[in-house]
Amino acid sequence: MSMLALEQLVAGYGPIRVVHNLSLTVGEGEVVALLGRNGAGKTTTLKAALGMVRVSSGRVLYRSRDVTRLATHRRAMLGMGYVPDDRRIFPELTVRENLEVAIKRGSKNGRGWTSERIYQLMPWLKEIQRRRGGFLSGGEQQMLTIARTMMGNPEVLLLDEPTEGLAPHFVRLVSDLVKELKSSGTAVLLAEQNLRFITPLADRVYVLESGELRLEGTMAAMAEKQEVRALLAL
């Protein structure tokens, strides 16, 4: 069963349509990369999947359930998590409070992510747990954003360009986190332009250009295609 499926999705802002007839699926425990240059429609696709951008036609299915008209917070409660590309931590809240905000009701059943488990994975985050979010470095903020979304125990994680502007050290940490999530069975839809970052992580790839799907296939098949490099302007 696919965890997330977009069917013939048309989405955009007001009268402007950014994504045209896009269909894709993400299976259980699968890491699927959504590749494309800036402006290709990656962020709009992720936001439309979560209901943060208006869908004018097509459907969003979560575990085969049509959630196209469902409010964003309800989709999140069902198990969809979103990590935006512009970080968006709560700058006035402490690191610990940023994590606590994402705890969902009924998720305290001993399973899943807790702040203690997050701190085990990222011990340095515990050391700064009383610091305000606004005082963290870009890399720390990025890790906090991912950790915060993990606190909600998502079954599908929409990850928007997590390595953008990050130092190599943090890129490695993000990569390790994605592997950890994958091994725990979380499905990940990863929007990226960084081919080197996704190559060891992704199972399958979709390549977008101007809001339309140009190519799709397994990571292994796509990595060798010159066409992919051309679409990413590499």
Partner: protein
């Protein structure tokens, strides 16, 4: 003492305004009307008899909370994402409507109530008698401030209230029912105003026109103290309360002017208020 009592009343009035603006971004011109409404509710419930004060105070506050929730659901929700002038027009219309409805329901005459049970006798400070309820009012306001602070900083729901002011879209993406959160915050702000109006009734008679005076005072307090800061609102209320009390003693004809001079000075030198924070820059 008079200044402290009026500071307590001003704090309860203004803190809800600050809370609502901080979280929802709504400038609530009708806030003074809800202060007046709390007082009217208590007066109507007790039929003007101070014997029922403590008994009916929770009922008056509960009624204010319900009014706040209904007003948010029916009216505020429609202007949340619209330009500020829609919000101002709507809340100003509410001020006028509540004023006229109050006049129809409760009459236009002055209403007051005696000192509540336990506070009938005066206290003497430096040999001067003061109503002991001055202390009662200060205690009630201090308790409300403490409880509100504990709620905002020690409970998860309080953390959500602080977070929603910073990024409501992200909070929704994390699974928080933001429309419900807005209703709770608005109701809480209105409940605090209603509580303020009700507990001020023994010291301050109420009639039409109180709402406008109250909202102006609330804005001054919030501007001086800093929008969105509880301690700022408390400091603003104490400063304004004391300035008005001392002004009335020393230079009665200029007492109102002192308040505005303070506000102008704060706006010139610290436009975000004494304890407010300058607008945060997102990194």
């Amino acid at each position: 003492m008079t200044g402290l009592a009026s500071a307590a009343s001003l704090f309860l009035l203004a803190v809800g305004l600050s809370l609502i603006f901080g979280a929802l971004g709504i400038v609530n011109f009708a806030h003074g009307s809800f202060f007046a409404l709390g007082a009217y509710f208590l007066f109507a419930l007790t039929r003007g008899d101070a014997a029922g004060f403590w008994h009916y105070l929770p009922v008056a506050v509960a009624a204010s909370l319900v009014v706040g929730a209904v007003v948010e659901r029916v009216f505020m929700r429609r202007v949340l994402n619209r330009a500020e002038h829609y919000q101002i027009l709507l809340t100003y219309a509410l001020l006028l409507i509540i004023e006229d409805v109050s006049k129809i329901c409760f009459g236009a005459d002055y209403k007051s109530i005696g000192m509540p049970k336990g506070f009938e006798m005066p206290v003497f400070v430096l040999g001067i008698p003061f109503p002991s309820y001055y202390l009662g009012l200060v205690g009630l306001a201090a308790a409300a401030a403490l409880l509100l602070w504990l709620f905002l900083h020690r409970t998860r729901y309080g953390t959500l209230v602080r977070a929603v002011a910073q990024d409501r879209e992200m909070l929704e993406a994390l699974g928080v029912n933001v429309p419900l959160l807005f209703t709770v915050i608005f109701a809480l702000g209105i409940g605090l105003a209603g509580f303020g109006g009700a507990v001020s009734l023994p010291l301050q008679s109420i009639s039409t026109g109180v709402a406008v005076d109250a909202v102006i005072s609330a804005f001054i307090v919030v501007v001086v103290g800093g929008l969105g800061s509880i301690w700022g609102t408390l400091l603003g209320a104490i400063l304004i309360g004391e300035i008005q009390a001392f002004g009335a003693l020393v230079l009665p004809e200029f007492s109102i002017a002192f308040t505005y001079v303070l506000m102008a000075a704060v706006l010139l030198f610290r436009p975000w208020g004494l304890l407010g924070r300058p607008p945060a820059v997102r990194t």
